[in-house]
Symmetry: C2
Subunit: 371 residues, 2 copies
């Protein structure tokens, strides 16, 4: 019997948005000494969150389903962001929320716009639900609002994806630029504003949240600054009507109960985020200094990683493979011209030292090779 998958699934290639570090470790038969490739936090979680989660494991945190309404968490997030609870949808991370958004809004063949080289998992979901993706180039290593808006207009796009700060480049736009973009969205086009890295950025990058506007969905996560990538919990803020649409099709019991406990505890730890932001800022400085010392240019980053310029994609790919083979898990932008950069995650001091030594050594070997 031939299995009758939907036409869409039959036609999809078997792809994965990212290869996990564990896959590379298994292939190499050794463990990475520095894990700085997935923009994970090197600085762990709030001790309040850790204690709360461990207590929950000793209680009924594992054997009871989580609250399908994510009530307590949404209540706290609503207060934090000055919106109504009904304007928040919590789910198992931004990845899941992007998939849910595409599913709720995109019919096969409808147009979606993003930047060429932007977050691959979004493209994976657009393809997975049969949307037609139109990608415009980065301009000067920034996602380009003007090109994105023009493409959205040209293709009558229903969705426009932008991350600010940007992944994979770490660059960002000021709030005014994003607000201007919002104000100029073509009718019927919804902006998916991915703000996964917003807690690392300087003030002034985040336009005011306006849930009266039905054309904007803001994506936030506990995976980055809060250090809870492995716990799978994130949320969107949007107009209630948009949230209702997502609620119609979301998997109501999808969020891990321990993650709910951890996230609510983390929000109560007022000291945690400022400390993390400081550690990440110091980590970026270390990477800047390393690049300076090696005569490499880099992009000022608003995230927990720094894009360092190696001049050419082939150079980056070669060096990346060698780094991976030498105990450093690291990634790079997937497409030209962004692929001239290597994306260096802020690690612990030890991870930075290991990366620094191996990068310096491998780079000297690379440049020493005859042209």
């Amino acid at each position: 019997m031939k299995i009758a998958f939907t036409q869409l699934v039959q036609d999809l290639p078997a792809t994965v948005p990212f290869i996990g570090p564990e896959t590379l470790e298994r292939a190499a038969g050794s463990t990475f000494k520095a894990r700085i490739g997935a923009n994970e936090s090197a600085f762990g979680i709030s001790s309040l969150a850790a204690e709360a989660m461990k207590s929950a494991i000793d209680g009924n945190g594992c054997n009871w389903y989580g609250d399908p309404e994510n009530f307590q968490l949404r209540e706290m997030l609503a207060a934090k962001h000055g919106v109504a609870m009904e304007e928040i949808c919590v789910d198992g991370g931004i990845d899941s929320l992007l998939g849910l958004t595409v599913r709720a809004l995109i019919e096969p063949g409808q147009a979606v716009v993003n930047s060429l080289g932007a977050y691959p998992t979004f493209a994976y979901h657009v393809n997975g639900f049969g949307g037609t993706l139109h990608s415009v180039p980065f301009v000067n290593n920034h996602e380009d609002p003007a090109s994105l808006l023009a493409a959205a207009t040209q293709h009558s796009a229903k969705l426009l994806y932008l991350s600010n700060p940007d992944n994979p480049m770490g660059t960002s736009h000021p709030a005014e630029t994003i607000q201007q973009m919002i104000d100029n969205l073509p009718p019927g086009c919804i902006l998916l504003l991915d703000e996964a890295y917003t807690e690392f950025a300087k003030a002034g990058l985040t336009p005011a949240i306006d849930t009266a506007n039905r054309q904007v969905i803001r994506y936030r996560t506990f995976s980055k600054a809060y250090g809870m990538a492995g716990m799978r919990i994130g949320y969107v803020i949007a107009n209630e009507e948009l949230i209702c649409g997502l609620n119609k099709v979301r998997n109501h019991f999808a969020v891990n109960r321990i993650a709910q406990v951890g996230a609510t505890a983390a929000l109560q730890d007022a000291k945690f985020l400022p400390e993390i932001a400081q550690k990440v800022a110091a980590g970026r400085q270390r990477i800047y200094q390393l690049a300076d010392s090696l005569g490499l240019s880099y992009l000022e980053s608003s995230t927990n990683f720094v894009a360092v310029d190696l001049g050419h994609g082939d150079t980056t790919r070669g060096l990346l493979t060698k780094l991976n083979d030498n105990g450093v898990f690291i990634r790079m932008p997937g497409v030209a011209p962004l692929d001239r950069f290597i994306r260096v995650g802020v690690g612990t001091e030890q991870e930075h030292r290991i990366f620094s030594e191996r990068f310096t050594e491998l780079l000297s070997q690379t440049t020493a090779e005859p042209a």
Copy 2:
């Protein structure tokens, strides 16, 4: 601006498969004293799993993403079930896997068959992806293979859903009956065999796993006997081609890293499952005895709950509301004629005592009312 959801989502009613106990608690302003309504395990998790998860929280279990291949877990599950790793897909619980299956196989309008009153979350996913559900009645409080097969043939169904043991009735069929059903599936129809409760059942309910057969997908979970409902982790066993289809559209980083750690540890705890099965069997006996003492009949259960016959749906609904109002979280089958039963979950001894007292008292009030 009117938000242009897909036609499917626009036409969907805003439903939830289940109202969570926390919602009822918030409405009542008090906490349930006995939580026996969601078939959660009252007996917690393996101590090995608890220790491993707490260690992982102190390590990098939270801040690192989980392995998107779920490699170690699939390796252990493959050994446990005597199949290849490539014949297993791990995801965030059976709910998520049912959604993924429907998404991969059902085009809008295509036929799906289940039993009237079977697991509502499956129906939720079928509706959510636009499938057309044809439901056949339970026969003698059992899902009825003959009617299901006849309906699948009549409607040229692509999917047929059956849970064995059954939720919400707790009844089951012997392996031979299920095997006969598998052997008689109409061409092109895939059986979704939900075995969430299989660990509680007597031997002989589980037909041999045959992954050469492309018409069967087996659903298993860590939510029930393993006590990890809150952790969101389950898996399917099926022909590799089916698994490949699911892999094309699944959310690769969806599984919580701590859940991966807990599940792999739980599988190494050889003593745990037999102990749980014994506790659950003892808990069923307590419920049987209570029913006997009250002159109520019940269904022999192969699960961690017992359907107790109250004679009429209105009686059950009335009593259920009173129980919920009196500190006992309990549920019942949603549709007639199954709704003459109340579904009593196996609780801790304390939960059983609380349920027993209140049930006895409320029942006497109910029957004392004039007809």
